[in-house]
Assembly symmetry: C2
Homo-oligomer: 253 residues x 2
């Protein structure tokens, strides 16, 4: 027994994935190597291959683990564990007792979806390395399936046909799960050209120059970095929800 107490708890897929998330959180995704992961678990690198097929499968698993965290954040836990509300006698929201989709005129799908998306975003802000992982082919795992079942339920209950809801989910893209691909990240904007060349260049970019001079002055609230990502994200999701609501109204006439 005393020997047993010293014996280390055996590895499991769950422990491997949890340790991988810890490494990525602490040191970034590039630091997540098979060797580093093994070391953190007090094990040799090759042992990992007993629990994950290879590195790609590891990253897929990590992605699904993060989505699982998102799922937990948007799923109200019921009093009894294991009962997730879908198992009661009542039909699921947006479904009649016979299983046909049914909309609910008093239901604010827009606000509900917005809240869900922002909650997902809050989780991703704790794992800023995760978004690129979620777009990898193969990263769409079980947790994502349940997350999007929820999104779909909101849309259907809000009056979207399955067809339109399908388009809407594509239109939302990564925004449906709380992030948007930023194309910018200027990072190290170190102009290594001479002032003269720079001025000539600026002359060819009148609108960009105009925008920059206006933006940097008139919004004292956005002094963290250049653009407030949270505010931009909310503007973007709202514009998209506006467009989707217009599409919904068009079809439900």
């Amino acid at each position: 027994m005393s020997v047993e107490a010293k014996k280390r708890v055996p590895l499991s897929r769950e422990r491997v994935l949890a340790a991988a998330v810890e490494i990525a959180d602490a040191e970034g995704i590039d630091a997540l190597t098979m060797r580093a992961l093994a070391e953190r678990l007090g094990v040799e690198a090759m042992s990992l291959y007993y629990h994950v097929a290879n590195k790609a499968a590891l990253l897929d698993g990590v992605a699904d683990a993060v989505v699982g965290e998102i799922l937990a954040a948007v799923t109200p836990t019921s009093a009894k564990d294991g009962a997730d509300g879908e198992e009661s006698g009542d039909p699921a929201p947006g479904l009649t007792a016979s299983g046909a989709p049914s909309s609910d005129p008093s239901f604010d799908w827009r606000a509900t979806l917005r809240t869900r998306v922002l909650a997902a975003r809050a989780v991703l802000l704790r794992h800023p390395w995760a978004p690129p992982l979620l777009t990898r082919p193969g990263a769409f795992g079980p947790a994502a399936v349940f997350y999007f079942e929820g999104v779909l339920a909101i849309l259907v209950r809000g009056g979207f046909s399955y067809d339109l809801a399908h388009h809407a989910i594509h239109a939302l893209g990564s925004r449906a799960i709380g992030f948007s691909q930023e194309l910018f990240t200027p990072g190290d904007a170190t102009p290594d050209e001479s002032d003269e060349v720079l001025e000539e260049l600026a002359a060819q970019l009148p609108h960009l120059m105009g925008m920059l001079s206006e933006i940097s002055h008139d919004d004292p609230a956005s002094n963290l970095g250049w653009c407030d990502d949270q505010a931009e994200f909310e503007f973007g999701i709202d514009a998209l929800l506006d467009g989707l609501e217009a599409a919904r109204r068009r079809t439900s006439v």
Copy 2:
């Protein structure tokens, strides 16, 4: 002279980047290694470091090369090369002679931007490996600056303030340059569970099952794969443009 003819043309940054694009087009981005690139250029791997700082700089350069191709596709070439229309005596579109932004009520910013975005998309469809590159920090190069100057010009001429145009560009995100991050790419959807487990799972996903059964049947036009990406992209950009037009109208009252 006869010896000179045999001498190979010296490397240049441009030739390195062009060869890199060729490799990615032919064999995918993972095949783009420093060693493979050198071999294609008939040179030793270390020679590349004379023209690009390191691999990250190479990828940044490749990204800007692709954006350059996009820029060429959306920029109508004038009769005289070198004159790009901004150098005439007329003010740039969307600017008064004094340089202040001015909108043009008869200008259809929505259709113009839509056309530009779809043209950019057409280029990216030829380089399907490129989108992930464009989202890397540091990938926003000179070509992207000029591309977005053009986007901004369209918005301003269409009646957007610089501030609103700035939000709009963030809202468009990667869509502004012709792609949207697909979260799906089911790829190898090989359910390795038993039928019984699968059925139980399906019972928990009523909307997803409902949508799948409806989608797969009712649209005979979308038989290439599962979702027609081009159609979904267009639906998405249209929904977003609708939302942005609503925002523009709100501010210009």
